[in-house]
Symmetry: C2
Subunit: 162 residues, 2 copies
């Protein structure tokens, strides 16, 4: 594996690209609260502890990149305001969020346990992230898997190799 890996560039890595977009602390905390069901600026402000100007910037960025939709609402006697709703693109980050939470609960939270749990609505069962394959094999371990160059893999150019 090692030798082969060294033939490829790591430039167009989807993990790095994802973290570039949502790995920044405040963006992530906003998304976390969106998954908790929060939608309004003042709610995000309270739960993230983010400064107002930074929160505004992060919400704008997440809207620009299509993870949140900005939806107008108006309460009686108030001016029009906006709610932030997770889009399909945003919602699809849920397994990644659960995977990060699961790891933190197990390795970092200590005896007090995690601050949140995810349940299956129908049966109340504790929800976890796991790996399965397209053929239907479930609960795969890392040893059951192999990483290989994908369609977008790029070879290192000869000049860069020297």
């Amino acid at each position: 594996m090692n030798n082969k890996r060294l033939n490829y560039t790591a430039e167009n890595c989807s993990i790095a690209a994802t973290l570039e977009l949502v790995g920044e602390k405040w963006s992530l905390l906003v998304l976390r609260e969106a998954f908790f069901g929060l939608r309004r600026y003042e709610e995000f402000l309270q739960l993230t502890g983010c400064a107002r100007n930074i929160l505004s910037k992060r919400l704008t960025k997440l809207v620009e990149h299509g993870l949140l939709d900005r939806v107008a609402y108006r309460e009686d006697g108030q001016r029009e305001r906006y709610e932030y709703h997770l889009t399909e693109k945003g919602l699809e980050l849920f397994p990644a969020m659960v995977a990060l939470m699961q790891w933190g609960d197990r390795w970092l939270a200590g005896e007090s346990g995690g601050a949140a749990v995810v349940y299956h609505k129908n049966c109340g069962g504790f929800v976890q992230v796991s790996l399965s394959c397209a053929t239907g094999h479930a609960k795969l371990n890392i040893e059951d898997t192999q990483v290989a160059p994908g369609k977008g893999a790029k070879l290192v150019s000869k000049s860069a190799q020297n």
Copy 2:
């Protein structure tokens, strides 16, 4: 959900804690290469494009936090050097890495596709991350799930609420 959520503090969030440890770009790229099977300083250097002093710091941090083991090796006629092997704690980040990659492949990689794919060794099936519950229900969607306060959830203090 909204009102209830506002009763809890977000201080001890396992997602934030995890990202605090591995969300930093270079730490993450080192871990990515470790999952690709790389173990040696010069290999990490080539594939991450990290500066030497930063790479050394990140490897040290990941060893200190128990995600990598530092293992001595010696090649003929050379001085003793070290390899970095993923520990159980490090290996368990794999589902989170695959989840981030999967999202990036789908939403950011564009038509060229992702740079890497994960296969099931036994059957060659494409490996994906999905949510299942302890009772055995598989391939859950976010709508099938509910987030609730966990064992470590902390109520916001009265004074902080006012």
